[in-house]
């Protein structure tokens, strides 16, 4: 039930924020802050309280029938991966509310409504275990995001919003076709028509069908991620969105694509994925290098950061299609670390935009002397983005590369070149904005209290990820093994433990805790926790 509350709080909070505009213009901000904070507290509480059962993949389940005629149920489940993603969601959500405190001046109520509904959609995506519901939430994310870009964005917002919407919607519809294909194949094979994830896992698929269905899912996830030929919506959407929008896009929306790959593509279509893996890794490497090169040549700070996202997301796809625990650990770390570091860079861009009203880095320069606090914090963000040891991205990229080396040496070498290039574009930000003398701006104030309140937790988060990533890895481990089971188990299907899971359609308030037998990975001793 607590899982439902996570979504309900956000949706209700959104409506309340919209309505409370009538009472007072600042009330929506507080309502939104309270709603996200409440969710954050809930999820952190869940994280702490479920630490004891770290051996089982699924921590919590909730399921009620929704459209029983079609086999659709309102089915939510939480495992380590979802948990981490939700912590990230609410943390960045909180920052998004804070960052908009001064930036958003018109239609405050409607803004917060959209913000909270995007978060609700994302929360739904990370939790749902029913493919109909998944598609539902997948789409719920879009409209509020469209409004965030289209109403509060910068000068070219309408174009960017259209592009974002059409790209994601078109790819989402292809996924819908694949979902329905899977549904009917499963139904005709087993006689049970259901959208339940756990049941669909065992669908016997002809290779050709599996390939087609996989491409349907891939379409949605690769566009969202985005992988290089499908990335062109991202720089526009990122650079035109308001800061909170960019933060959510980069920090969370892209992660839904990565999450989808982990949660759906890999377990549902094991053989087809293995066939596709070399191409996917190639796309990933192209993304890493292309994103880095293009990022270097940008003068718009937000576009620059957007292209670095393309580059960083290349590591995600590289890791996902390497099919081993190392790489997937790296992917999870990358999802979180990138959420923080890129989100942080967008926030930095937001700070600068608030002061200068431009995102053009040729208009900036020499701010270190005027704003040392901002400089230090920016340095941390930039170092994180280039993957300096001690910060989260390093762990992520290291793990990913170790994992992908086992799968494909050549690709890994090229991907490593991408990291070198990351150094170049990251340092360029620092150089252009903070060191090089630039045009003079009279009033350039350092970070104030509210801004420090936003920036410092991000710095701490990045440091934590870099210095002590073990809790994250431990939380994600069971879930990762679960996703990988189809690739490592001797028998081709993943039958036994999951049949027990779905046999509780009427379980209204039943956070059933199910333990799943763990496969041991003996070659992974160094990242086991010390005790």
């Amino acid at each position: 039930m607590i899982l439902v509350w996570l979504i309900v709080i956000l949706m209700a909070g959104g409506l309340l924020a919209w309505l409370s505009k009538k009472v007072s213009p600042v009330l929506p901000r507080w309502v939104a802050l309270a709603a996200v904070l409440l969710d954050l507290i809930l999820i952190v509480y869940l994280w702490i309280s479920t630490e004891a059962t770290a051996g089982s993949a699924w921590l919590m389940r909730y399921e009620v029938p929704w459209i029983p005629q079609w086999g659709v149920s309102f089915s939510l489940a939480l495992d380590g991966l979802s948990l981490l993603m939700l912590v990230l969601t609410f943390f960045l959500g909180l920052l998004a509310v804070l960052i908009s405190w001064k930036e958003i001046k018109n239609k405050v109520g409607f803004f917060h409504f959209n913000l909270l509904w995007v978060l609700a959609g994302i929360t739904g995506v990370f939790l749902t275990m029913d493919l109909f519901l998944f598609y539902f939430f997948w789409e719920v994310m879009l409209i509020p995001m469209y409004f965030l870009i289209g109403v509060w964005g910068h000068e070219n917002r309408t174009y960017a919003a259209y592009k974002f919407f059409l790209f994601t919607q078109a790819s989402g519809l292809l996924m819908l076709l694949a979902i329905l294909g899977l549904y009917f194949i499963h139904g005709s094979e087993t006689g049970r028509y259901t959208f339940n994830y756990f049941e669909l896992l065992n669908t016997p698929l002809a290779p050709a069908a599996a390939r087609l269905l996989m491409f349907g899912f891939l379409a949605a996830f690769l566009v969202k991620l985005p992988v290089v030929p499908f990335h062109s919506w991202l720089p526009d959407a990122h650079s035109q969105a308001p800061t909170a929008g960019s933060l959510i896009l980069a920090g969370l929306l892209l992660k839904t694509g990565a999450y989808g790959l982990l949660r759906f593509v890999i377990p549902l279509f094991p053989t087809a994925t293995i066939e596709f893996a070399p191409w996917a890794m190639l796309l990933g490497v192209i993304g890493i290098i292309y994103g880095a090169i293009v990022a270097y040549s940008q003068t718009d700070l937000k576009r620059l950061v957007a292209y670095t996202s393309v580059s960083h997301m290349g590591f995600v796809i590289l890791g996902v299609f390497a099919f081993n625990e190392w790489a997937l650990q790296g992917v999870v770390m990358q999802m979180i670390a990138h959420g923080l570091s890129t989100g942080a860079l967008f926030i930095l861009a937001g700070f600068l935009y608030e002061r200068l009203h431009t995102r053009d880095i040729t208009q900036m320069g020499g701010f270190w002397a005027k704003a040392p606090k901002m400089g230090v914090i920016a340095l941390v963000f930039v170092m994180a983005s280039l993957g300096l040891p001690g910060l989260g991205n390093f762990i992520a990229e290291f793990l990913t590369l170790v994992g992908s080396w086992q799968a494909d040496n050549l690709m890994t070498i090229f991907a490593t070149i991408g990291i070198v290039m990351a150094t170049a574009y990251s340092l360029r930000i620092m150089q252009k904005v903070f060191y090089e003398p630039g045009p003079q701006h009279e009033s350039f104030s350092d970070l104030n209290f509210r801004e420090m309140l936003i920036a410092v937790p991000m710095v701490l988060g990045l440091l934590w990820l870099g210095l002590y990533p073990q809790p994250i890895l431990d939380t994600a481990k069971p879930s990762i093994n679960e996703q990988l089971q189809a690739y490592t188990s001797p028998e081709p299907t993943i039958a036994e433990p999951k049949t027990a899971l779905h046999q509780q359609p009427e379980a209204t308030v039943n956070p059933a805790q199910v333990t799943i037998h763990q496969r041991s990975f003996t070659n992974l001793q160094i990242f086991q926790s010390p005790n």
């Binding site: 005629q69 719920v140 259209y162 076709l177 329905l180 549904y183």
Partner: protein, 486 residues
């Protein structure tokens, strides 16, 4: 005819009676409010009488009608829509000079025609229903005669609809000549053994399909749609988009299921081409429009295309999907045109995109309702349109109509663009503050606003909790053996 027959025809009789009463009242005393009340009451009464008829077995009135769950459901849908349209009409016509009373008379008559269509099993009753519907529409479309484009719309519809009726009659004659029967089941029986249709019979059915195609406004018989939608008063447009098309669609489903037209590859090929062409023509032409009513007109062409994708599945799931989508589409269309009607001023309808600029900041609730309707047309979650589109795609995938389904997906994306365009316009900040249109009497807006609120709630309810409606549709279809057998 027996006494039970009268009970089963009660909805139609109530409507007929209401027309007569209205006529007498108008002759004695012209009063907008009274006629309006009579209309609303007759729709409600007719709808109420349906509760007597919800049996699970079909009741046949030889040889004209069959009253089964499918028919009762469609009649119910038509009656409710007519009720909603008349609610919207009140405010709309109250601010206009012309004589308003006969409008309701024609509206009820057209409703009667549509009701007859969905329960007919005989060419005669089919044609009667179609003509009652059409002839009322001939007068309804140019009802506001002083409007610049109303004559054009009226004449266009008159000529084309008359043409289509003629085609239909000729088709019926050919079918009768080939098979010697005018009853659907008789036709089905006489062609049941045939592997391929004889040319003359095929021509006959083809010509009947032309007639139906005109009424549905699908390509290549769609030319009248934008002009008529534009020229007709907004509530009439809502009526044409929903009741008129829904009635004909109900007829088409009954006819095709009975005859099992899906067995004949040539018919399927023709229909497939028509469906794909409708989706593309509707969506692509809508992209270029600057007039909201014309956008909605072209979008209705493509929506009929979507509906026919599920129809092409030719099994029970297909019919369920068509019916579900139709309900969603009825709610959405009435809602959308209701917003247009509500925003219209004395002289012209609010139809230019300009009229909607910054609407969200001027009239947030109206804009929110309109946005919801447009999002439903685009098939975005939390609205009925999403579930409807999902149902249709599911029916198509189930029957492996991959070509049609992929085309539908492609078209959904094209369609998104212009729905979003309207929404984006509503969000734009107007450069200059527009003057609020002068409202004649605020109190009469209550009916319109209430109707729109009900529609918006229905839209969200069906979108979030479709189970009830799905269950209802599945239940009513049980009584139709031709559909369940498939």
């Amino acid at each position: 005819m027996s006494q039970t027959d009268f009970i089963y025809l009660m909805p139609l009789l109530i409507l007929t009676f209401a027309v007569l009463v209205s006529m007498l009242v108008i002759a004695a005393w012209r009063n907008h409010k009274i006629i309006y009340v009579i209309t609303a009451l007759s729709c409600i009464a007719a709808f109420g009488s349906l509760f007597e008829l919800r049996t699970t077995t079909a009741y046949v009135i030889e040889p004209m009608f069959v009253i089964d769950g499918f028919g009762v459901f469609y009649i119910g849908m038509i009656l409710l829509t007519s009720l909603l349209v008349s609610m919207l009409s009140y405010a709309y016509f109250e601010q206009r000079e012309e004589r308003k009373e006969e409008y309701y008379l024609l509206l009820v008559l057209a409703t009667l025609g549509a009701c007859v269509l969905v329960i007919s099993t005989h060419f005669a009753s089919l044609f009667l229903g179609l003509e009652i519907l059409s002839i009322s529409l001939y007068a309804l479309i140019p009802y506001l005669r002083t409007r610049p484009r109303s004559d054009e719309a009226g004449i266009k519809y008159l000529i084309l609809a008359a043409f289509s009726s003629a085609f239909m009659l000729f088709g019926m004659a050919l079918v009768y000549f080939s098979t010697g029967t005018m009853v659907f089941s008789g036709l089905a029986a006489s062609i049941a053994g045939m592997q391929e249709l004889p040319l003359l019979l095929l021509t006959g059915i083809g010509m009947m399909l032309i007639g139906v195609g005109f009424k549905l406004g699908i390509v290549p018989f769609h030319m009248w749609t934008p002009d008529v939608y534009e020229g007709a008063p907004a509530p009439v447009t809502a009526f044409i988009a929903t009741v008129s098309k829904g009635g004909v669609l109900g007829l088409l489903i009954r006819f095709f299921m009975e005859v099992d037209g899906f067995r004949y590859p040539v018919l399927v090929t023709i229909l497939t081409i028509v469906v794909i062409a409708s989706m593309f023509a509707g969506n692509l032409l809508a992209l270029m429009q600057k007039n909201v009513k014309r956008i909605l007109a072209y979008s209705s062409i493509s929506h009929l295309g979507y509906i026919l994708v599920a129809f092409m599945a030719g099994n029970q799931m297909g019919v369920e999907a068509v019916t579900f989508y139709l309900v969603a589409y009825f709610i959405t269309s009435v809602g959308a045109f209701g917003v247009v009607a509500m925003l219209s001023d004395k002289n012209s309808d609010a139809e230019l995109l300009e009229d909607y600029k910054g609407l969200l900041w001027r009239r947030p609730w109206t804009a929110a309702v309109f946005s919801a309707m447009l999002l439903s047309l685009a098939g975005i979650p939390l609205t009925a349109g999403f579930v409807g589109k999902f149902y249709i795609i599911a029916a198509g995938v189930n029957d492996q109509l991959w070509l049609l389904v992929v085309m539908l997906v492609l078209n959904s994306v094209i369609g998104l663009y212009y729905y979003i365009k309207i929404i984006a316009v509503m969000f734009q900040q107007p450069e200059i503050e527009r003057e609020q249109a002068i409202r004649l009497r605020p109190s009469i807006y209550v009916a319109s606003a209430g109707t729109l609120a009900v529609l918006a709630l229905l839209l969200v309810y069906v979108g979030v909790y479709p189970t009830g409606l799905v269950q209802l549709i599945q239940n009513v279809l049980v009584s139709v053996p031709e559909i369940v057998a498939k």
